[in-house]
């Protein structure tokens, strides 16, 4: 696949002084209704005291099972959810509180972009691929129409799509191709940080390999920082250099990806690793330590 060609023009990401992302004591509490008629409320802590720092050009994996809070962290970073406590700094600027103006919101968008899991629902079905990318360029980049046209072709090429594929609607593309579009759209804003929320999880193995290689190429070329959210530890090893393991909203282990996967210290990390099927793997019934392994099943 032609994900190799790219021009020098595409290769820059703004230089930053200091880390691309700094998060300290991040916390998110959801109010859950309960009781008769939903009148009584209780607080559900989705994320409790997460702290990490990510340098430019580096890639941080956030791993955990459903309900661990990994997507909630992503949503707070990009501003879909508001943090209940703690601080978030991206590209040196605070974004712990919601943006107060359109220009502020736009600036945040140009600093950090997100790619979601499902390439079937994250693109507008009535918008051609070119228009979809053009929209982002118009919003975030001062370019003439001609420059934008040129840039769209470059971006498509960068993710291994042809000019012709830019003309079609998402329904004419396969899942892997749509995920390439979602990545091209995110790259159009030339963000300092790219958040990838289970971005390769829904893809077939052969397509997943293509997208993983593409992501690694882009990071090498652009010095962009990644926050890579996944439940798949093998994929996390391939894409990240640091990892943070979440369980029920709490960070149980964090550090170098290799160290965590080769010599985990936390029992939960060990259990996650032992649960991955591999040759010679013998699944065992874990009823005894069920409290550790299973989500609190009602």
């Amino acid at each position: 696949m032609g994900d190799a060609v790219h021009s020098a023009e595409t290769d820059h990401v703004r230089r930053l002084n200091g880390p691309a992302v700094e998060v300290a004591g991040l916390r998110k509490v959801f109010r859950v209704s309960g009781g008769v008629g939903g009148r009584r409320h209780r607080d559900f802590v989705a994320v409790e005291g997460a702290s990490f720092s990510l340098e430019q050009g580096h890639s941080l994996g956030i791993v955990g099972e459903s309900g661990s809070g990994k997507t909630t962290i992503a949503r707070m970073l990009v501003g879909i959810d508001t943090a209940s406590g703690g601080s978030i700094r991206v590209a040196g600027r605070d974004r712990s509180t919601p943006a107060k103006s359109t220009s502020e919101r736009r600036r945040r968008g140009s600093e950090m972009q997100i790619v979601f899991q499902d390439p079937y629902t994250s693109l507008d079905p009535r918008q051609s691929i070119n228009r979809c990318i053009n929209e982002v360029l118009k919003l975030h980049r001062a370019m003439t129409e001609n420059e934008r046209r040129q840039r769209i072709i470059e971006l498509l090429d960068q993710v291994g799509l042809t000019e012709h594929q830019g003309l079609v609607l998402p329904k004419n593309l396969s899942g892997g191709q749509r995920q390439r579009v979602a990545i091209a759209r995110a790259l159009a804003a030339e963000p300092a940080v790219l958040v990838l929320d289970e971005a390769v999880s829904a893809l077939d193995v052969s397509i997943q390999a293509q997208i993983i290689n593409l992501l690694n190429d882009i990071r090498e070329r652009t010095n962009m920082a990644y926050i890579f959210i996944s439940h798949n530890l093998a994929v996390v090893r391939q894409v990240t250099d640091q990892t943070l393991v979440l369980r029920k909203g709490v960070v149980v282990e964090q550090g170098d990806t290799e160290k965590i996967l080769d010599a985990p210290e936390n029992d939960y990390t060990k259990l996650l690793l032992a649960s991955v099927p591999e040759p010679g793997w013998k699944p065992r019934r874990i009823r005894a330590d069920a409290a550790l392994s299973r989500e609190s099943e009602i």
């Binding site: 077939d204 390999a209 993983i212 090893r237 391939q238 699944p283 009602i298």
Partner: protein
């Protein structure tokens, strides 16, 4: 020798956009008593359709040709009643999403005992007791309370255990499991697989297990069949498949997985995307993505060859020396 399940030259056409499209081509596979056979492949390869054909659960207007026999008796041409009886007693399916396949307005107890009460005429109380025992066996505590609950009150992992219990209750000789753990977390998956495999083995039940996860298939099946574009391209034991894959597609699939224990500098990738049977060119369906393609590959689909105990459909299978991991000596020769 009689096989428990014998599928022979099965082809299936389904109506997609008002036209018949091929989804399965010339599929032949057997499952013996108490044997676990996995069907592995990417989306659109036909693994689910193969399992559905066995239970005659194809979408409306689906056309099927070829043979399916269970315990020596042909199922082709069976009446609706006979199929019903077959599904109620001999073979049962575990679906991927229990929430979509368990009726949400019925209590767990009603769901579990329906088959026993209606098909076997068992007393309701006796059926409930049987269900409670089985729930305990699949790892659900406080079974009598669970029987009174509704599906929405249970988590996904829990509900999949209920589904497994429902299948075990009718004591089929063959379980068809269609990605039964794909929607579950890894730790839950490990537990559910352990439960399923334990109970199946105790009861001498055979299983046709469908998954996209090669490692998962390797972990507990006796044989693995790799599917591509509606064909079975290779059938092998897990050890043999990982040590010496015979089909270029199998080898490519094994290469392109990220490894848990080591980082690959760059994942060897298969260009293009997986095809459905009806999109495949004449000849071998893998030809456009195959690094070893030759002119004859576009002329005919190779017939199944028996090599070192494995079955493979590739013109070049006997001359290629494929390996399962990159850099594991030998290399990919004859490029």
């Amino acid at each position: 020798m009689t096989h428990l399940l014998q599928i022979e030259n099965l082809s299936v056409d389904l109506v997609v956009h008002r036209r018949y499209r091929k989804v399965l081509q010339d599929v032949s596979i057997t499952v013996e008593k108490a044997e676990v056979v996995s069907l592995v492949g990417e989306s659109g390869s036909g693994k689910s359709m193969t399992a559905r054909s066995v239970l005659s659960l194809l979408p409306a207007q689906g056309k099927m040709s070829g043979g399916i026999a269970f315990d020596g008796q042909s199922l082709i041409g069976a009446s609706y009643k006979e199929w019903q009886k077959f599904r109620a007693t001999k073979a049962a399916m575990i679906f991927q999403d229990p929430r979509a396949s368990i009726n949400p307005v019925h209590r767990i107890g009603d769901f579990l005992t329906e088959a026993l009460v209606h098909n076997r005429g068992m007393d309701r109380h006796e059926a409930l007791e049987r269900a409670a025992t089985l729930l305990e066996q699949v790892g659900i505590d406080d079974a009598t309370r669970r029987l009174r609950q509704y599906p929405h009150e249970l988590s996904g992992g829990m509900l999949q255990r209920v589904m497994i219990a429902s299948v075990l209750l009718i004591e089929p000789q063959l379980i068809l499991a269609d990605e039964p753990t794909t929607a579950l977390d890894v730790t839950t998956q490990a537990d559910v697989i352990a439960v399923l495999d334990d109970l199946r083995a105790q009861r001498d039940m055979a299983m046709l297990f469908i998954t996209h996860d090669l490692e998962l298939a390797a972990a507990f099946s006796d044989r693995i069949a790799v599917m591509y574009a509606g064909f079975i391209v290779e059938v092998s034991t897990p050890a043999q498949l990982h040590a010496r894959p015979l089909h270029p597609y199998t080898a490519a699939l094994l290469h392109s997985r990220p490894m848990l224990h080591e980082r690959t500098a760059r994942l060897p990738q298969i260009s293009g995307r997986p095809l459905s049977a009806f999109e495949a060119p004449p000849g071998c369906p893998f030809q456009d993505r195959c690094p070893y393609v030759q002119p004859r590959c576009s002329e005919s689909m190779p017939q199944p060859l028996l090599i070192a105990g494995s079955i493979v459909r590739c013109h070049r299978a006997s001359e290629l020396e494929l390996v399962s991991t990159v850099g594991a000596g030998g290399g990919q020769t004859h490029g």
